[in-house]
Symmetry: C2
Subunit: 338 residues, 2 copies
């Protein structure tokens, strides 16, 4: 660390190493409490006898419309998914808008239409909201915060602490579609095969998975920072080794090509309609089969397992027979994709 | 409305007439559901047997440090107060940061310290958070969203629908301190008597009020848009007349002077540690007495009552014996004060 003035950089918002340092070194340290310290996608909050979860996310995606979605759809599904991967049914959502002066009213109308449609599809109610306007040049079109509340039913308890050696790792579908769709649109890349965001609500599939198995240990959606970041969080949080097989990682051919051109590993690219489930070995096949029955899980597959070899590390068994450590990435590969 | 392209203006975020039109004409219309439609400071959400409230607010105050507070303190107390005025005990808060690239890390640390101290004072837990970074020039230092959950105890039910003719209107203290403190700081006005924000958590006082009376009909805090906007919401929502006496409106002398100089009526200026309570006439004196026992209510007083004369209107009995209609204001008198 230099002796000079420390400033916030784009990398602090990337989901990578600096984001992690900001969260643990500043927010966790100063706002210390055991619920926040769990660093799950949503906070467990017991109120009376009710096991609830509570989560928040701000959306600053640029541009606000992109192939397969827009900031409104993303804001609803993103928060719904953060609730769902806790094994909780999404119930209520809040919506806070920060609008830049001069925004076209008809675009805002389109976004609100999209929010409305997404809330209906995800069967959540938007019950409270807020609108702020900032001067031209003090914002960037539109930022949206959504917070959400869900309820855990049937005594489900998911968390990194449940993970055991031998557990199987399931990924619900292809990697990087969302991040590359936004990037392509923003940078004006032209590709014959149009890549669209995978933004989708996951509760229906999660609900089906929870019905078939009581041995799902943990779930999370690989959004900002992608699968690579998620698996590192699992390795760090569980203190086990996360061993995955490169040959099993599904990446669309056009996504892979574009990643190669721009020098990004798809393992770090954001997804908005995917999840990783870590499941006891005897239930893994059954869970996988259920997932394949949902549109969001058609391409689900086993990608690896929890081992003891390199504790706290993510190891990729490469297709040429080597073993590569997948670290948290440093830098800001793909800013503002959510 | 002109035939040209409609755009979002600063007035859409002012809390005045255009804000109201944006909320009812766009958000309520498209996201229509009965909970949102109540337009209270927090949404009532019944989960199982638990009567909860849920609220959200984004904070874009400029500058982020001002006399008597900062954006962090404001973000915690603002959301805590939106819960409290529903008669609900604040429990859990979320915190979403949108940071502009280049922000001084030590300033962010100070804000997080302030959030931590405010949460402790208000006895709420910050249980979930999110951080986004936007490029230099795409934000303005720091925006914070806080959402919050509270619980209603002892079957309290407050709401505009409870208001009856003859009810008394109590205001907890002086008008306009917060808005003028922020404005003075932003515009570099120098005054001998420094005006400081009234930002403060109100739950302790509210809790005391609820203990002494079961006949508090409604409470709300006069933030953006001030007392004038709040009373118009009451008049519109109840369809009665809100009659207040100018002589009873407490305004600090230095706040009044500055308002005169810049041509703003203090009745429209934001407060961040004040509330209005509408109480049945037989309990009004007792509630007032309790309020005066708290630091936040020392200057509480009766300012008027609910009548039938001019339905849906707010009337001010002036000190010279006239009657003036207080409308919702049009324009953006004081942008970015919260």
């Amino acid at each position: 660390m230099s002796e000079g003035k420390r400033i916030i950089s784009m990398s602090h918002g990337s989901g990578g190493k600096l984001s992690h340092e900001l969260i643990t070194g500043l927010f966790l340290k100063k706002l210390n409490n055991p619920i926040l310290a769990q660093l799950e996608d949503s906070a467990f909050i017991q109120i009376g006898d009710l096991p609830l979860v509570f989560t928040t996310d701000s959306y600053v995606v640029k541009p606000i419309f992109f192939p397969g979605g827009d900031i409104g759809k993303l804001a609803v599904y993103g928060t719904v998914n953060d609730i769902s991967v806790m094994g909780a049914r999404p119930l209520f959502i809040s919506c806070g808008f920060i609008i830049e002066e001069g925004m076209d009213y008809t675009l805002l109308e389109k976004i609100v239409d999209s929010i409305s449609a997404a809330a209906e599809k995800a069967r959540v109610k938007i019950v409270t909201g807020d609108t702020k306007v900032v001067e031209r040049g003090s914002g960037d079109g539109l930022f949206i915060n959504t917070s959400g509340i869900g309820i855990i039913e049937n005594g489900v308890h998911l968390g990194i602490g449940n993970i055991k050696v031998g557990d199987k790792i399931i990924l619900s579908g292809t990697l990087g579609d969302h991040g590359i769709a936004v990037l392509s649109c923003r940078e004006g890349f032209n590709f014959q095969s149009e890549i669209v965001s995978d933004s989708a609500p996951l509760w229906d599939m999660v609900s089906g998975m929870l019905k078939i198995s009581r041995k799902i240990r943990f779930m999370r959606d690989p959004t900002r920072g992608g699968l690579g970041t998620l698996l590192n969080e699992v390795a760090l949080g569980s203190s086990f080794c996360v061993m995955i097989e490169e040959a099993q990682l599904p990446v669309r051919e056009d996504v892979r090509s574009l990643c190669e051109i721009i020098g990004i590993d798809p393992i770090y690219v954001a997804n908005e309609g995917k999840l990783v489930a870590i499941v006891a070995p005897d239930d893994a096949e059954a869970v996988l089969k259920v997932m394949k029955g949902y549109p969001e899980g058609i391409e689900a597959r086993l990608i690896g397992e929890i081992t003891e070899e390199h504790k706290g590390k993510v190891c990729l068994a490469t297709m040429v027979g080597g073993l590569r450590i997948i670290d948290m990435f440093v830098g800001d590969q793909l800013p503002r994709i959510c």
